[in-house]
């Protein structure tokens, strides 16, 4: 009888663990304070022999750091190291990918080797993994107010949109499932999400707000005031409608950029961040026009990097650690490190979006010490952003 009870309990525990998750669209995205990074374990009561499912907070977030030459394959490897795209994208899902393409090549140069935008191979590789995992539709988009010809490495690139060619190849192979779009022209309505800033609410384009899966693909960059780095969390500023918030989104800066970044990520709940780091940008960052300096990562550490994680805070924190080797000061607690002095990353961690503490981040692939670099920081004293300081906008 006791054996039978044990079997029943095991069955209950197994059913509990593998219970079907609610449809995201139906259930609504979980709030930021829900335990996104929690899982279910089973514990055995030695006295009764009963197995109890116990919900616990996972202590670590996985971040993969892959070094190499073949960006396409490295991106796949980085995603596989997290469990593969099938753990993120389900059959029939609508995926929205936000590459950092909004700033780049404004002077007619190649924005890819300038490190201004995410590498097209990384973007295409992520899109292909989504399609292979069963995505119904993969939308790659930015909100761009300027004419379409300078989007996505258009005028910016030497021969027009560089990622478009890769997308065309994928669409030939898999059927027309990947779309490269300007959100301004493909948004029908905005959905409003709460904001802790004086704006109270933020308007997010429907294609982003209603997507089943949202992926951020930033380029590895330092940045000028008001943020020392620009990575996966900040990348989502580019989905915000400039028609509402201005170009370049000065109304969001006025409201307090750091909290705005956190609020956007709370609303969107990104499922994956893949940092493109074949080329990057140091100094004031963002673009050559603004004084940023191109970095060929291979020349610094002997290979390009792809950094990926499902926890956007852990991924940004890891990417920050990689490029801020000798930045000082750092907090007394070494587990916090330079990311703690980046306002929006610290605030995102404090508000439950993910792990910043290095003791709670498990690195897969390269050892961080082997790939750490000392990128030039912006010369406008934007680092460190100390906790408690005024949420200072650029204007």
């Amino acid at each position: 009888m006791r054996k039978f009870a044990k079997i029943i309990n095991i069955l209950i525990a197994v059913l509990f663990i593998f219970r079907p998750s609610k449809d995201k669209a139906e259930a609504g995205k979980p709030s930021a304070d829900e335990t996104k990074y929690s899982s279910v374990m089973v514990s055995l009561d030695k006295k009764t022999g009963l197995i109890e499912p116990v919900k616990i907070k996972v202590v670590t977030s996985k971040v993969s750091v892959i070094k190499g030459i073949d960006l396409y394959a490295m991106t796949r490897q980085a995603i596989d190291a997290l469990g593969g795209m099938k753990t993120i994208v389900k059959k029939g899902d609508r995926v929205f990918i936000k590459p950092n393409y909004i700033t780049g090549g404004l002077d007619g140069h190649d924005p890819v080797s300038a490190g201004e935008i995410a590498h097209p191979e990384v973007v295409a590789s992520v899109a292909e993994e989504c399609v292979k995992a069963g995505a119904k539709e993969v939308v790659i988009g930015e909100w761009v107010e300027r004419p379409i010809k300078i989007n996505f490495g258009g005028k910016e690139g030497k021969d027009g949109a560089q990622v478009q060619r890769l997308v065309d190849l994928l669409n030939k192979k898999y059927g027309h499932k990947i779309f490269l779009i300007n959100l301004m022209e493909h948004t029908t309505y905005f959905r409003y999400f709460p904001s802790r800033t004086k704006l109270n609410f933020l308007a997010i384009p429907d294609l982003v707000a209603d997507a089943d899966v949202v992926i951020s693909i930033p380029a590895l960059k330092t940045h000028h005031k008001p943020s020392p780095v620009s990575l996966g969390l900040k990348n989502f500023m580019g989905v915000m409608p400039s028609s509402l918030y201005g170009e370049p989104r000065y109304k969001l800066h006025h409201a307090g950029l750091h909290q705005v970044i956190v609020d956007i990520n709370k609303a969107i709940q990104p499922d994956l961040v893949v940092v493109s780091a074949a080329f990057g940008m140091e100094g004031p960052g963002a673009s050559l026009f603004l004084g940023g300096k191109a970095v060929d990562v291979s020349k610094r550490i002997g290979g390009a990097l792809v950094i990926a994680g499902r926890d956007p805070v852990a991924t940004d924190a890891t990417a920050t650690r990689i490029i801020t080797k000798d930045w000082d000061p750092v907090p007394a607690n070494p587990d916090l490190g330079t990311p703690w002095y980046v306002n929006h990353i610290r605030m995102a961690a404090e508000q439950g979006l993910g792990n910043l503490d290095s003791s709670k981040i498990s690195i897969i692939g390269e050892q961080l010490d082997n790939v750490k670099m000392n990128w030039e920081r912006s010369d406008d004293n934007v680092y460190p952003e100390l906790p408690g300081e005024k949420d200072e906008s650029r204007i």
């Binding site: 609504g28 107010e145 300027r146 004419p147 379409i148 010809k149 300078i150 005028k155 779009i181 301004m184 022209e185 493909h186 948004t187 029908t188 309505y189 905005f190 959905r191 409003y192 999400f193 904001s195 004086k198 704006l199 109270n200 609410f201 933020l202 308007a203 384009p205 429907d206 294609l207 209603d210 409608p241 400039s242 028609s243 509402l244 201005g246 170009e247 370049p248 000065y250 109304k251 650029r394 204007i395």
Partner: protein, 324 residues
């Protein structure tokens, strides 16, 4: 109405009195442009404003313009349905260096209710010959304005900033023009809210000509020159309900446009007559019942000659909810 009063066949009504009555009728009935639901107009023509901005036709649109910083004009509206609104304006400029900034405030008998502004990026990316560009921008400060029922005034003016990040004033580089104002309601939808954005015809597929920038009209647009040509534009419906379609169109001669809304399980067609004009005008189609989710808006040229479409908006007939 004026003609009716003037032609009223009463002997006792003298001509002078009739004129006075006519003026009073115009004052009370026509001074305030009604905005509200259901099926009410939610756009306001800027040429109906009074003040320092001058009337002119700018790249085919009747607009008001100024090149004088802080010159003010105002237009009176009547909000029939209280609720949350975004105030948009369709604005033209041809500035290459300085940053044009348009300000607006909404005033009622209790004073200034809200103030807002928008700095528009200068168009450094267009060649020097081009006649500028039209922008749809929100003048709302914050996420929306909660407007009470009743008459109010939109007061607007312009200025210049030396740079986007520079709060100090700059020189007005040239004129700024406003074509229309839109009060776009923020509508409740389940647990959250939404508001409409423009539907750009260039996102569509079909045999209309798509232009990313058409210098004659200083905008991006879709153009059909032949009867039977269709354009299928993707759109999304935030929640099931009755909707109308608003569109900015240009057709030099009287024309007809077929509009089909095609969702997963429905297909609804409406026809709209376009009155021929040599300037841009507006059409409103519907209402039609649309299901939540994706739909295609299919435009079909059903007349003769050319039809140009700049942008469309689908707006719900659900009244905006004041509760949040």
């Amino acid at each position: 109405m004026i003609m009716f009063i003037l032609n009223f066949p009463g002997r006792k009504m003298k001509a002078g009195f009739k004129i006075k009555v006519s003026f009073l009728a115009v004052f009370f009935c026509g001074l305030f442009i009604p905005l509200g639901y259901p099926g009410q107009v939610f756009s306001v023509n800027a040429v109906d404003s009074l003040g320092e901005w001058r009337r002119e036709v700018v790249t085919g649109r009747e607009a008001v313009s100024t090149n004088k910083a802080l010159a003010k004009s105002e237009i009176q509206v009547y909000i029939e349905e209280p609720g949350k609104y975004q105030l948009f304006a369709y604005i033209h400029h041809n500035w290459r260096k300085a940053v044009p900034c348009v300000y607006a405030e909404v005033v009622n008998d209790k004073g200034v209710l809200y103030q807002g502004y928008h700095r528009i990026e200068n168009i450094w990316y267009l060649d020097g010959e081009s006649p500028g560009r039209w922008f749809m921008v929100s003048l709302t400060q914050g996420s929306f304005w909660e407007l009470p029922k009743g008459k109010m005034t939109i007061r607007f003016w312009a200025g210049a900033k030396a740079a986007v990040w520079d709060d100090s004033s700059g020189q007005m580089e040239s004129s700024i023009s406003v074509d229309k104002f839109f009060f776009v309601p923020v509508c409740p939808s389940g647990k959250d809210s939404n508001s409409a954005w423009l539907i750009y015809p260039e996102a569509g597929d079909g045999n209309w000509n798509i232009s990313d920038y058409q210098s004659e009209y200083a905008t991006n647009l879709a153009k059909s020159v032949k009867r039977g040509q269709t354009l299928s534009i993707p759109a999304k419906v935030p929640s099931s309900g009755r909707y109308r379609l608003w569109a900015a169109v240009f057709s030099p001669e009287d024309n007809k446009l077929g509009i089909t809304f095609r969702g997963k399980s429905y297909k609804r067609k409406v026809g709209v007559d376009i009155k021929g004009r040599d300037i841009w005008s507006e059409i409103i189609a519907g209402p039609v019942y649309l299901d939540k989710g994706e739909c295609r808006i299919i435009l079909e040229h059903l007349g003769q000659g050319e039809i140009l479409v700049d942008y469309l908006i689908i707006f719900s007939e659900v009244s905006p909810d004041r509760r949040y």
